[in-house]
């Protein structure tokens, strides 16, 4: 019997021709020291750790492990630079330094993108088109604020806070460094920044750019290391401000550690964001939005749309389309421009995701994963969705930070508002409907800091980002992002 077209298509084994981004043009050293007081210095302990490419487990470089002693050195250098240079410099000159950093980053954008992909496992399409341009733009945006701060805070005198200690996560390494450093510098603060231990390379490349820019020594210090390095920053007596992006658990430890001190804090913590699809939504666009919401950056996104709420009347249709779309996702080498889902950032994170998936199955939820071949080396996890999930289910309550989506249905607007808000987190939400008044009803009632209407995972330097409730406090981006780094009188 003759096969129909669909059967023929399904019976043919085929694959995309690889379209690999070249790595020949990048400059990586074998070993990286600490960037303190404008110089590259060896760690006092003499210890280094390896950073690997999670896509193939090959070692990329050795990174200095900063101790409390090194952190102290960095804080002293930041304090000196603050008092003697940065806070007394005309604001317009400060602006020009930050503009210059933005330009140098743009010039080296492709190199930064390739290194980001190698070190973090994210796809080259993402690091090239999103992470790096946004990071550059962030510096460019805040540069211009440096000499215009009085316009941001009516009826107040604006002064910097002093030395900012900044601790950033591994999911958007360079972008988070930009989110932290740019507004701090614009407001006249100096910085000690610690990148995450699995993704230090782009922060170190940024240190090279900062060195090249001629920024006065000590204004930005980069110390690499593990959690104890971060703790040394949090507990250092001469730091005025802690800015942290990471898990809610660590955020709480930091909040407790600085209780009773005069340190100011901004915390960008976890999320379990709702993505809500109404029956009148443009279904195909919504399905793309769901896919982007949860599988973008392998789901390593604090604002990932990890809880999907679909109106009951269209649930079957949406789920079928979603499965079909998941079947067509391409998982593999992050350097390949065909790749939609790259490598999980670390072995540890892969194990966390596996743990949660196991819990989901034990809780009785129905799992769907496309039949896809994962590379043999490296850390990978297929896109996963869970049906028949209860509101109280662990996988619907806790942040998984991986490509795992839970699906629930709803009938009425009030029901979905209650379900969406029933979470200790409040970072983001998505709403898909053709009805404008409904969008504004929902965006008003959802208790979350960022709401995407008929879109998801959009970011911009001019747009404030940050959470309600246990997703943290303070905003990054836009004019609101400045208030985290100034003292008003």
């Amino acid at each position: 019997m003759a096969k129909n077209k669909k059967e023929i298509a399904e019976s043919v084994e085929w694959n995309y021709s690889p379209s690999l981004e070249s790595t020949a043009h990048i400059h990586l050293k074998k070993q990286y020291d600490l960037f303190i007081d404008g110089k590259w210095v060896k760690p006092s302990s003499g210890k280094y750790f390896q950073t690997i490419n999670p896509a193939n487990e090959e070692v990329l470089a050795e990174i200095a492990y900063a101790s409390a002693e090194d952190v102290d050195k960095a804080v002293k250098s930041a304090r000196k630079a603050y008092t003697e240079v940065w806070s007394v410099m005309p604001a317009s000159e400060r602006a020009k330094y930050i503009f210059r950093i933005a330009r140098l980053m743009q010039e080296k954008a492709r190199e930064l993108a390739v290194i980001e992909t190698l070190d973090a496992g994210k796809t080259i399409r993402e690091s090239r088109d999103l992470d790096v341009p946004l990071a550059c733009n962030h510096f460019f945006y805040y540069a211009g604020w440096a000499d215009k701060l009085v316009y941001a805070f009516p009826n107040r005198t604006v002064a910097p806070l002093g030395v900012a200690g900044q601790i950033i996560p591994w999911n958007f390494p360079l972008l988070m460094a930009a989110w932290k450093i740019a507004p701090a510098l614009a407001a006249g603060n100096t910085v000690v920044l610690k990148p995450a231990e699995t993704t230090s390379l782009t922060a170190l490349k940024l240190a090279e750019i900062i060195e090249e820019s001629g920024l006065p020594a000590g204004v930005v210090n980069i110390v690499t290391g593990y959690g104890d390095t971060g703790a040394a920053i949090v507990n250092h007596e001469d730091i005025d401000k802690i800015a942290f992006t990471g898990s809610t658990n660590v955020g709480k430890i930091i909040q407790k550690a600085i209780a009773g001190t005069t340190k100011k804090a901004t915390l960008e913590l976890g999320g379990k964001s709702a993505n809500i699809i109404f029956e009148d939504a443009p279904i195909d666009q919504a399905v793309e939005g769901i896919i982007n919401g949860i599988f973008f950056n392998q789901g390593h996104v604090c604002c990932a749309g990890s809880r999907l709420y679909v109106q009951e009347s269209i649930a079957a249709k949406v789920i079928a389309k979603l499965k079909a779309r998941m079947d067509s996702l391409y998982i593999g080498n992050p350097l390949d421009k065909n790749t939609d889902i790259g490598a999980i950032n670390s072995k540890e994170q892969l194990e966390t995701i596996q743990k949660y998936v196991k819990i989901g199955l034990q809780e009785g939820a129905e799992m769907y994963q496309p039949k896809c071949k994962l590379p043999e080396k490296g850390f990978y996890f297929p896109p996963t969705l869970f049906l028949d999930v209860a509101q109280s289910s662990v996988i619907a309550q806790e942040e998984i930070f991986g490509p795992v989506l839970t699906i629930q249905t709803f009938r009425t607007v009030d029901e979905v508002i209650q379900k969406a808000n029933n979470s200790p987190f409040g970072l983001a939400a998505g709403v898909w409907t053709d009805k404008g008044s409904r969008i504004f009803n929902l965006t008003t009632k959802l208790r979350a800091g960022v709401i995407w209407a008929n879109s998801y995972n959009k970011f911009d330097p001019t747009s404030p980002f940050g959470g309600y409730k246990e997703s943290g406090f303070g905003r990054e981006g836009g004019v609101h992002g400045l208030s985290s780094y100034v003292k008003l009188s």
Binding site: N137, G260, G449, A453, D460, S463, E470, G472, L488
Partner: protein, 293 residues
Amino acid sequence: MSRLEVLKTYKIYIGGQFPRTESGRYYSPLDKKGKPIGNICLSSRKDVRNAVVAARKAFGGWSERSAFNRGQILYRIAEMLEGRREQFISELQMQGSTKVAAEKEVLRAIDRIVYYAGWCDKYQQILSSVNPVASSHFNFSVVEPTGVVGIVTPQECALIGLVSLVMPVICGGNTCVVVASENSPLCAITFAEVLNSSDLPAGVVNILTGTNLELNNVLATHMDVNAMVYGGKDQEALKSIQESSVLNVKRVISQVKDWMESNAQDLYLISDTQEVKTTWHPIENIGGASSSY
């Protein structure tokens, strides 16, 4: 025969009602001469929980009131306080103020409420923004109330301290649970009577009397309280509130000012208990329409 004065029973204020503390306990704070000023409810942790429930219940309705309407109600509070000036002046004197100081404090309190009444429909415009994003989206950020706020009022300036901390919080659409001055609680409860006759919905402001030691941390550890405002000067108490607040990542705001100063009021006291919400809305790019239409 001289007439026997009818004494007032001071009770706490929860959900628009004046119950006694569920614990049945009382304490008797002393005036400057060492004489008890009354039998005051010694509120318990159960009272705090009841008050938080009332505040949460009131939050949706209050935060959704129109800004104009909130302004009207705050102004009404000032009107009611103005009408009861003499009562507050005499209570402040019972608590140890001189007549001159008491008068000054009451007048300042009335004017402060009027000040925040005027902010109710204005702070949003100053604190919000339209953000010029690079993609085809209409992107804006507005402020919204944080939620249920715990307020620990200062020991001194019992009336103006309470008014100065509570008004910016409710002006911004939050609801609150207030711990009154431990030593000078009389005017806090009488102020609750003013609130109760001002069209302020039940539960928006709840006022408890008792000890800071017992009440502060019950509020700060409560999982349904979103922020704490501490108006005292005790650094240890502040630290303790900050540590307790970690449980659900509360925002903790420490406010120490001379509240009798005419300028101890501003927009930034309102913004302290506001959250910034950013909304992205796509803009349809209609094919072919160029910018020079």
